[in-house]
Symmetry: C2
Subunit: 443 residues, 2 copies
């Protein structure tokens, strides 16, 4: 690979810009400074903006009236490298082997954002200008939940005003298979607690005559799905946008096998709602998952107590057009109705997050698909993802622009894990994607 492409990324990856650990605060700051200087050398107007936490780096070309404005979002912070012992080589000493670059942050997100940066640099060097008004917004707190991003966007709202937002922080549909991710699931979290009495009780003296919250909690939780693993909460599926035929057909052609998913998840078997494939279940169907369950004795061996209380932590993953408010109300009402009167039900509201959906037939989404085809010589796979990216809702609400998710990472990139990696072929394609995309989005 051309050193002009590889060297800047290697420099970028050598900063251990771990946002969650205060011990790395200096490295995070140094990384932001390096990035700002890189932008400046390319001819962009760049600045480091302090926040309540790690800074945001903003860079822009000279904006001209009549051109569309494109905001490219990325992050320069990375996950911790722990457990470092499981890495083949040190996480902050990038290594290339067989066309694959191994380093913390290589896929998530330094490699992906650097592909965009170098695409812009090439265009500026060759043509002296860009076809659009461009803004790079690269933050340093994505891995800790972007706690200061909303305030930053509110403050800079008038200066940003993009027509479209581009984010490369998701994945490809498979090796060599580019993807436009057009929908993500939302989230509704709650904790339920069943209280039976004032203290744990002796299971000999009282066993059989008093309510056991652990037993009744199990019954309550078991009542949340039917035999075919559909959620039984009345109205739960009312707002679900049905899967379109084209979605089922398109996903069936993806190079995703049940064996492959099992190996990836390290599970004995797949499992889920009847009538749907695994991808359909994870991408287009809402779920009700128990994230944690507890109550009574947790130590080794036996303790003959009847717990005084038991809890379950629940999150529902939501799909368009469900909302956290709607689903919380329905789950609450159902639990309150089926809970036996012998125990007291407490429901504690948790995090919520909206679903995300972008019309893959919009003008900008079609432009993105043309750019993908020009780079890879094949159509972009139109995929959804099962997870949630809460900042998408924030971007859309404050900046009012649509968002294109064009991920460059392979499914086995080990983001957040040891030996995180980025395939150089994807990196190089990403540089070309940036150039084609800006041309297409210019309209």
């Amino acid at each position: 690979m051309d050193a002009a492409l590889l060297d800047p990324l290697l420099e970028f990856l050598r900063f251990p810009s771990v946002s969650t650990d205060p011990a790395f605060a200096g490295e995070v700051q140094a990384c932001a400074q390096w990035l700002k200087e890189r932008f400046s050398r390319m001819g962009l107007e760049a600045a480091i903006h302090p926040t309540g936490g790690h800074p945001v780096v903003l860079a822009r070309n000279a904006h001209l009236p009549g051109r569309r404005t494109v905001l490219i979002y990325g992050h320069y912070d990375v996950q911790p490298a722990d457990p470092v012992a499981l890495w083949t080589t040190p996480p902050f000493e990038p290594r290339v082997e067989g066309g694959v670059l191994f380093a913390r942050g290589s896929s998530d997100n330094k490699g992906q954002i650097m592909a965009h940066i170098l695409g812009v640099e090439q265009t500026l060097r060759e043509k002296g200008e860009l076809p659009v008004n461009l803004i790079f917004l690269v933050e340093g707190e994505e891995e800790i939940g972007s706690p200061h991003l909303e305030a930053f966007l509110q403050e800079h709202r008038e200066a940003l005003r993009p027509d479209v937002i581009v984010i490369s922080d998701t994945g490809m549909a498979g090796p060599g298979l580019p993807a436009l991710t057009y929908a993500l699931r939302g989230l509704m979290g709650m904790e339920i607690r069943l209280h039976a009495g004032g203290s744990d009780l002796h299971s000999g003296t009282y066993g059989g005559m008093v309510p056991n919250p652990a037993t009744l909690l199990a019954r309550l939780v078991a009542s949340l799905h039917d035999a075919e693993f559909r959620v039984t909460v009345p109205g739960f599926y009312d707002s679900v946008r049905p899967l379109a035929d084209w979605e089922r057909e398109a996903w069936a052609t993806l190079p995703v096998s049940e064996e492959g998913l099992k190996a990836e998840a390290q599970v004995h078997a797949l499992f889920g709602e009847a009538g749907y494939t695994p991808l359909e279940r994870a991408w287009a169907r809402p779920t009700l998952e128990i994230n944690g369950i507890g109550g009574g004795y947790q130590g080794e061996g036996t303790k003959t107590v009847i717990p005084r209380e038991a809890f379950a932590k629940i999150t529902c993953r939501l799909v368009p057009d469900q909302t956290p408010t709607e689903i919380e109300a329905k789950v609450r009402a159902y639990l309150e109705r089926i809970c036996p009167p012998e125990v007291r039900l407490e429901i504690i509201s948790g995090h919520g997050g909206d679903t995300f959906v972008c019309d893959p037939q919009s003008a900008d989404a079609l432009a993105a698909q043309r750019a993908v085809k020009a780079v890879w010589g094949r159509e972009a796979a139109l995929v959804r993802a099962g997870g949630s990216i809460p900042i998408l809702t924030t971007f859309r609400r404050i900046l009012g622009a649509d968002i294109l998710l064009l991920g460059l990472a392979n499914p086995d990139c080990a983001a957040h894990a040891p030996d995180e990696n980025f395939v150089l072929e994807n990196y190089e394609a990403g540089v070309r994607l940036n150039r084609a995309l800006l041309e297409e989005l210019a309209g």
Copy 2:
């Protein structure tokens, strides 16, 4: 109360003979020494027998051929006094108020065993001899599960050889209402663990397509009872000795109310198997209780994981003629049959304990009931108890004698809790019970 009765008990109670805490080992030893000297002064042949832990104190009169041998068992160790702050007065500074003695060990078991000791002392002082060959066996490790008692009994088996064993370490049926406890429940413990995969999974990426062990555990646990709270394990009730009419009738007359039980257990409501009263459920019906349940995230708030495993700790309380072996096999077979194949079921065997039953119409049980009537002027209530006393099986297996459980503690004696107490009226009645009982058992 006569100082000759009260003073020895106060002395006994001042020893903080907490068996579980090594810091009190010297006090436990001193208490055993004091007890041995007390026995010797009464004219009994007494000795302290070291064990692998705290010693056993044995005392006996001169045994004569042709007399029946009665072994009275008790323990001189006590539960810890924690939380000491919740005691009205210090736990090892006995206080008498309104005819009630407050101190750690007052009911469990120093007061009860001292009533027998003083009954024997009175008889010896007045008559110079006892009507039976008597053995006191007072151990120092009951509150930690009597770990050395079995070996001790095996070693001294030939020297002990009782015809009948008397234990006053249970309760009265109510204030002023003496009881013969003729049956206790047994125990079968196990832990079940469901394993789905190698690690916790992201509930966004994988939620809906992989098995969730917490959800499936809840379903498994919920399958263990039917809608009327009968245990659904096939054959679970096959060996249950049905409640006799006389038992239902006798227990219905006991001064036990649902309101009283709720207040005692500090629960919002009672709950259990259809068709039985609370006492019947706790005394004569087997149970399957969840003592602990866990899996996934246990901290504050939300963590969006699918747990890799989940567990439930189960104990069944057994009634005659169920056995731990039978019930473990039936529960195992049922769980293995209903567990979904997508998760791996692991079953870990736990403690087991046999049920105890003594025929209330046996010659010795009738003798005990005559003694009770002579002391209190009313019939002994024939009761069972929901708990288990594992050493009863040990006594019976090694010494081959029947066991009479004649408890002197009131139901609200707060054994193991702050402000443990013993009603002095019961204590004084216990002294007289010992005298009447030895006469009756002499035959």
